[in-house]
């Protein structure tokens, strides 16, 4: 799904923040609560890290951006919890209004409906029986596709040709795992692209690598 989270190469964001050596882990107390709440909410909702990223991608622009990184975490946690019917839609808003003294009616607690899904192992790494489809040094093309759900194939590499630099361990495919449609484990490739292949003749001279799942790639004939 093409969405706001896929930011590579997008315009209009202005200058970068210069690094500050003394930045605290959490700038505000609520950010630390949101961080821990989100980690626990992935578990409580019976979901997984890919579903968490997919939840972020389904937020609208304001929910994604306005309260920064921990704001989008909190909003994605709420979305996962309502999708798994741990919370009713509007429950968090109603409680927040109550906390600030409004007379906000709270929706009843729903019957939980966690996804019917059990991971085959912890984490994302898996072993697969088949050999890698592509070899180090081989030219490959990132498929020019726009999957409807979650994907880790950035728009800015789609349709472009690069060279396999490293073959990484096989891992769960986020696209299907995010929607509890199976793990589809497959090799991941670190693919190197030239800047002019991606951005045209006037680009700065540099190269870039992206980790691409085997099913995102096709051979270059």
């Amino acid at each position: 799904m093409d969405n706001i989270a896929d930011m590579g190469g997008t315009l209009g964001w202005g200058h970068v923040y210069p690094p500050r050596g003394d930045e605290p882990t959490f700038g505000k107390p609520w950010q630390s609560r949101a961080f821990a709440l989100t980690l626990l909410s992935v578990r409580i909702s019976g979901q997984n890290i890919d579903a968490f990223r997919y939840a972020q991608e389904r937020l609208d622009r304001a929910a994604y951006l306005d309260d920064g990184y921990f704001g989008r975490w909190l909003n994605a946690a709420e979305l996962m919890l309502t999708d798994s019917a741990i919370l009713a839609p509007g429950a968090v808003d109603a409680r927040a209004r109550k906390l600030r003294g409004e007379d906000a009616p709270e929706p009843p607690i729903p019957e939980p409906a966690r996804p019917d899904y059990v991971p085959t192992a912890r984490g994302s790494l898996r072993t697969v029986d088949n050999p890698p489809a592509f070899a180090v040094g081989e030219r490959v093309r990132a498929k020019d596709m726009s999957p409807s759900g979650h994907s880790r194939l950035p728009r800015y590499v789609r349709g472009h040709t690069g060279v396999v630099e490293l073959i990484q361990p096989a891992a769960v495919l986020p696209d299907t795992n995010a929607q509890f449609q199976g793990e589809n484990p497959q090799y991941v490739y670190t693919v190197r692209f030239g800047s002019r292949e991606l951005w045209g003749a006037d680009a700065e001279a540099f190269s870039l690598t992206v980790e691409l799942y085997e099913s995102y790639l096709e051979a270059v004939s």
Binding site: G9, H15, L37, L59, E78, L153, P154, L208, L212
Partner: protein, 199 residues
């Protein structure tokens, strides 16, 4: 996120975090003590000091350096660092002529066991959007000017693979011990937006 009443002022993120914590706590779904432990762990134990220890050891122990570049995850685990967001860590070396810099354009993936949680600039849309398109300009805005002959490789962390940069050991530190080198190694250098300075 869900504003059911329409026209009124939406609740702040701080208030919604408090509301969510209450809702889950009163149903016994979370334990605030567990939350506090998670937070304090990331505030005190899981941070860039871990990565600095890895780098200082690699600078002073050639065999460790070789192991680190061959199998980052295993070599990092030798020092006791592993866990969430560190399932498979690849370490790349910056030199006088090659410069790696790490970004995550799709979210803010970052090697937590060695660097902790990402700093604000790493999570900022401008960094995520621009580092893959004009790294030299972005590094310059961040205070790092690289010579024209330095080859830049941007590492966009799109899978569960995590990247750690082994920065170049600065000249003038030959007499320092591993322990004395640790405080010189900055988080920013291990992401690739700065170099390590001799002091």
């Amino acid at each position: 996120m869900t504003n059911t009443s329409g026209s009124e002022e939406p609740a702040s993120a701080a208030l919604r975090a408090e509301a969510l914590e209450q809702l889950l706590t009163e149903r016994g779904l979370i334990d605030p003590k567990v939350m506090n432990e998670i937070i304090s762990n990331y505030e005190t134990n899981i941070g860039p000091l871990n990565g600095a220890k890895v780098v200082a050891k690699a600078w002073t122990d050639p065999q460790y350096r070789r192991r680190l570049l061959e199998d980052g995850t295993a070599a990092i685990k030798e020092l006791g660092f592993s866990g969430s967001q560190g399932e498979h860590i690849v370490v790349v070396e910056n030199t006088a002529t090659t410069h790696n810099v790490v970004v995550c354009t799709l979210c803010s993936c970052y090697p937590w066991p060695v660097l902790g949680l990402p700093p604000s600039w790493y999570k900022d849309p401008a960094y995520r959007a621009r580092m893959v398109a004009e790294p030299r300009a972005v590094l310059s805005e961040m205070g790092l000017e690289l010579a024209d002959d330095v080859q830049i490789t941007v590492r966009d962390s799109t899978s569960e693979v995590r990247w750690l940069v082994l920065p170049e050991r600065p000249a003038g530190t030959e007499h320092l011990t591993e322990e004395e080198l640790v405080p010189l190694v900055s988080r920013d250098a291990m992401v690739g937006v700065a170099k390590v300075k001799a002091q």
